[in-house]
């Protein structure tokens, strides 16, 4: 699974993109976010306030209960402030 970070989430986590292999129990967005927090102190700090985090799965906006799996592209970013 590929995880992408944008804007201040990228700065806080310290990488723009990483390949991860979460355990099989991680089946939806909520569980993935919980699991990502355990990867280290920077991940934990970046994801401390989930109200400021938006998620896309395979380039579509996703909600906490949406499914995620091994081949997916998951992106985490702040609320958009485009144009």
């Amino acid at each position: 699974m590929k995880v992408l970070y944008f804007a201040w989430l990228r700065s806080k986590v310290g990488v723009a993109e990483e390949e991860v292999a979460p355990p099989a129990a991680v089946t939806d967005v909520a569980k993935l976010l919980d699991w990502l927090k355990t990867r280290g102190p920077r991940h934990a700090a970046a994801l401390a306030d989930l109200s400021a985090v938006r998620v896309a799965v395979n380039q579509d906006y996703a909600r906490l209960h949406d499914k995620v799996g091994p081949g997916d592209e998951v992106a985490l970013f702040p609320p958009v402030t485009g144009g």
């Binding site: 944008f6 896309a56 380039q59 992106a75 970013f77 958009v80 402030t81 485009g82 144009g83």
Partner: protein, 150 residues
């Protein structure tokens, strides 16, 4: 038609190309967004627009399709820039063309409202106090929400 690009665009040339030869068009509405010198209270000198390559194109195409389904459009165009943009530079262009001016206005405003709230862009503003990521503005979410009721 959508484009996401670093380079500037020419609103007049885009309009001419989009409407050329289509005699069913009675009105074309264009919106050009520019970098202005206040984001909230701070003096903005420039900004860098980050986006999510791939998702941006996918979402813009979906929004444009939705506008075409809601209003009788003969043509539409979204051009959105990313990267560093100085004061006064063009950021985004939206053009909608229809037999009826009411449809062109409504569709253009719909697209601009959605771009501001749903397109995966993030603004990093350069101010005298340093660079800062812009926070989402509630008024923008409300402007987009009114279309969901429609």
């Amino acid at each position: 038609m959508i484009r996401v690009q670093r380079e500037d665009f020419d609103p007049g040339a885009e309009l001419a190309r989009l409407t050329a030869g289509n005699h069913r068009i009675g009105g074309a509405v264009s919106f050009v967004g520019l970098v202005r010198d206040f984001g909230g209270d701070k003096a903005v000198r420039a900004m860098t627009l980050e986006h999510y390559p791939g998702m941006t194109e996918k979402q813009l195409a979906a929004i444009e399709r939705e506008a075409g389904a809601r209003w009788p459009l003969e043509a539409s165009l979204i051009v959105h820039r990313y990267g560093r943009l100085a004061l006064g530079e063009r950021i985004v262009l939206v053009i909608t063309a229809s037999p009826h001016r009411e449809a062109a206005f409504a569709a253009c405003q719909f697209l601009v409202d959605w771009l501001k709230t749903k397109a995966p862009f993030w603004k990093l503003e350069e101010t005298p106090d340093g660079a800062a990521w812009v926070e989402a503005r509630e008024a923008d979410d409300q402007a987009a929400a009114k279309w969901r009721q429609g």
